[in-house]
């Protein structure tokens, strides 16, 4: 039996002017805010704790618990910062959320801010998505005009200002403390923890940093009730989440489903792997999560089961590759990404990703040796668990997992002195393979 999809955040995406205040309000939007303003902030935090909502930005930390970590009010500012720096390779859910339903995020920001006692919230959006900025700026403006933001919101006495902020091209700013440094007008480098942002975050004040989808899920929980939310999902992974299918599938896209749905079920809904091909490997949660194969087709996609199977649910970015794909090519390219995006603060990550890239390009180009494969594993060992933040760890995931699963493919590059795959066969359009791009790649 196929798990039933549960469009909540995505429900209105197909509507006319889905991004407008009018469309959102007609679909019941901002009623949860009014309900929330009539509740005690502590009860709101408890409701989100009870819902079991866990961070949708990758780490899966319980959202309500994060809110609850803030120290007692000392009369000075405390902040909510929305992490809208969606950049993890494969991840593409927050961008359409903000394009198609920006008010879900704005309403979530208002409720969350009220719950944690914040009077100034920030939405930090990556800079490389111009139309998302237009839509979010407009949504915030509309919300002010409708009295959902600003002074004395709906007569509650609660004031809230929201600032939409643009990043400028840096994957590392998706790491919450690097994001805070960036928002303070600095280079985006992660901070040493503790202190955690809950204690000393933006401007060294108590701060909650939450992902777009986490915050956008809050209005539905408050509006429909905790039991509605906990009826979806699995025992410890409650609720719905957006699963982003990309790659060699017939109908790639955003599928909102209860946590615990399987790739087999999702593929069925997405029309399967592209015609005449079969699944080779996939990432359950973006490029920083160890890859899976057909072995895990029936693994429930929740935090526990994916973890038990040796990977991470991450951002539910399911990148699907069929048998035409060279795993060494895929991993090399991801590793070049981590090298490019390493902020340079800590040595294991800065130097490690540099050397990993050198070795991988050598192997991919047919100039590697058997010893290089072991060297990759050793270098990963020097990075994993020894880096300042999760970027370094993430860089090792695809390498370690692919060598474990496809070691013979690395060896084939060494023994054949080149790539055994026809790259043209992987492309979604026809072309004949002329000498490839290796030299051109900066």
């Amino acid at each position: 039996m196929t798990t039933t999809l549960t469009p909540v955040l995505t429900a209105t995406w197909g509507a006319d002017q889905s991004w407008s205040l009018d469309t959102y309000t007609k679909a019941g939007g901002y009623a949860p805010l009014k309900k929330a303003l009539g509740m005690a902030p502590g009860d709101l935090i408890q409701a989100v704790k009870d819902s079991g909502l866990r961070g949708r930005g990758g780490a899966g930390f319980p959202t309500g618990m994060k809110w609850g970590f803030l120290p007692p009010d000392d009369g000075k500012p405390r902040y909510l910062v929305v992490n809208a720096d969606e950049s993890e390779p494969g991840t593409c859910k927050d961008i359409p959320t903000m394009l198609q339903a920006p008010h879900a995020l704005v309403e979530g920001v208002a409720i969350t801010s009220f719950a944690i006692g914040c009077n100034h919230a920030f939405i930090y959006i990556r800079g490389e998505v111009a139309h998302v900025h237009r839509r979010m700026q407009q949504a915030v403006r509309e919300a002010y005009e409708a009295g959902h933001l600003g002074k004395n919101i709906h007569g509650s006495g609660f004031d809230l200002d929201v600032t939409v902020h643009s990043g400028a091209g840096a994957y590392i700013c998706g790491e919450e403390t690097a994001l805070l440094d960036s928002l303070e007008g600095r280079r985006g480098q992660p901070r040493l923890k503790p202190p955690f942002p809950a204690v000393a975050g933006l401007y060294a004040r108590p701060t909650v940093v939450n992902n777009v989808e986490s915050v956008a899920s809050v209005p539905s929980i408050i509006g429909n009730g905790v039991e509605w939310f906990t009826a979806m999902g699995t025992e410890r992974s409650k609720g719905m989440g957006i699963f982003s299918l990309s790659g060699h599938v017939k109908r790639p896209g955003q599928y909102e489903a209860p946590l615990g749905i399987t790739l087999r079920e999702l593929l069925e809904l997405a029309g399967g792997i592209r015609e005449g091909h079969e699944l080779k490997f996939w990432t359950p949660g973006g490029s920083s999560t160890p890859m899976f194969t057909a072995e895990q087709l029936d693994t429930p996609l929740d935090y526990e089961a994916v973890g038990a199977a040796g990977s991470m649910l991450g951002t539910r970015a399911l990148q699907i590759f069929d048998e035409t794909t060279c795993v060494v090519r895929a991993v090399t390219r991801w590793t070049e990404f981590y090298k490019h995006e390493s902020c340079g603060k800590c040595t294991p990550c800065r130097e490690g990703t540099f050397w990993l890239t050198q070795i991988l390009k050598r192997i991919e180009g047919g100039r590697g040796t058997e010893a290089d494969i072991q060297q990759l594993l050793d270098t990963c060992d020097s990075i994993l668990g020894r880096s300042f933040c999760a970027l370094g760890d993430g860089a090792t995931s695809s390498i370690n997992s692919s060598i474990k699963l496809f070691r013979e493919e690395y060896e084939a590059h060494v023994t054949q002195g080149g790539c055994p795959f026809d790259h043209a066969a992987s492309a979604l359009f026809e072309y004949s393979d002329t000498p490839a791009t290796e030299e051109a790649h900066a």
Binding site: P7, V8, P89, R134, H165, S166, G253, L269, T437, A440
Partner: protein, 218 residues
């Protein structure tokens, strides 16, 4: 600084509007660097000094920040920033080939600008549109599901001065300077322009309808 009086007055007014959004001045720096690019087309030495004066930092401190982020350009940028995603998923789906053909067609490589100042090419990292791979971005608007032919056509049209519409986003791509102003947080009145959500964004909804889901159902 070599800004003329009118430009400097406008910049100063805009900078004040940006600073007013934050409790602490320095937070205005990133949007302000976008603002400088909206005037100069890159982060110019004048622009760095301007930002430094506004947020009370040294020019060296502002430079240190500007050089960290890839969207801040250190040389005059083309009117159109054209990026082809060559991160793994897009590369495998055809992004590598698109890059090869486009780069050859335009005659410049990564982070290079055509002599007429029209096009700057870039090998992009993941731009969060993987369900529409292979992806190209022009001045940070989405061009989904590209082929070498479609990508070359877009660039030819841009060079010919024609209006070009992205596959998702506004009715037409604006200039690098104009989009930089949007990123600085200034409304260009185009939020309601739309090319549709795209098939991928609605794929799950379509599948849910196939399961008997109706709009408005919880």
């Amino acid at each position: 600084m070599t800004y003329d009086e009118t430009t400097l007055a406008q910049l100063t007014e805009d900078a004040a509007a940006i600073i007013a959004r934050y409790p602490v001045k320095r937070s205005a720096l990133l949007p302000m660097l976008h603002l400088v690019q909206s005037v100069d087309g890159y982060v110019s030495p004048d622009g760095i000094q301007f930002c430094a004066d506004q947020v009370e930092l040294t020019a060296a401190e502002v430079s240190a920040v500007a050089t960290f982020y890839t969207q801040y350009k250190r040389r005059p940028n083309g009117e159109y920033q054209v990026g082809v995603c060559t991160n793994t998923l897009c590369a495998v789906m055809g992004g590598d080939r698109i890059w090869d053909e486009l780069s050859e067609h335009v005659g410049v490589g990564h982070d290079e600008t055509t002599e007429d100042g029209k096009i700057t090419l870039e090998r992009l990292e993941c731009n969060a549109a993987c369900d529409n791979a292979p992806v190209m971005m022009v001045n940070w608007e989405f061009f989904d599901n590209q082929t070498p032919e479609s990508a070359k056509q877009v660039v030819d049209d841009l060079i010919a001065g024609k209006d070009v519409a992205p596959t998702r986003g506004p009715a037409k791509v604006c200039s690098f300077k104009q989009v930089s102003r949007v990123l600085a947080g200034f409304d260009d009145g185009r939020a309601n322009e739309d090319q549709g959500a795209g098939e991928a964004a609605l794929a799950g909804l379509e599948a849910a309808k196939g399961q008997g889901w109706t709009e408005g159902a919880k």
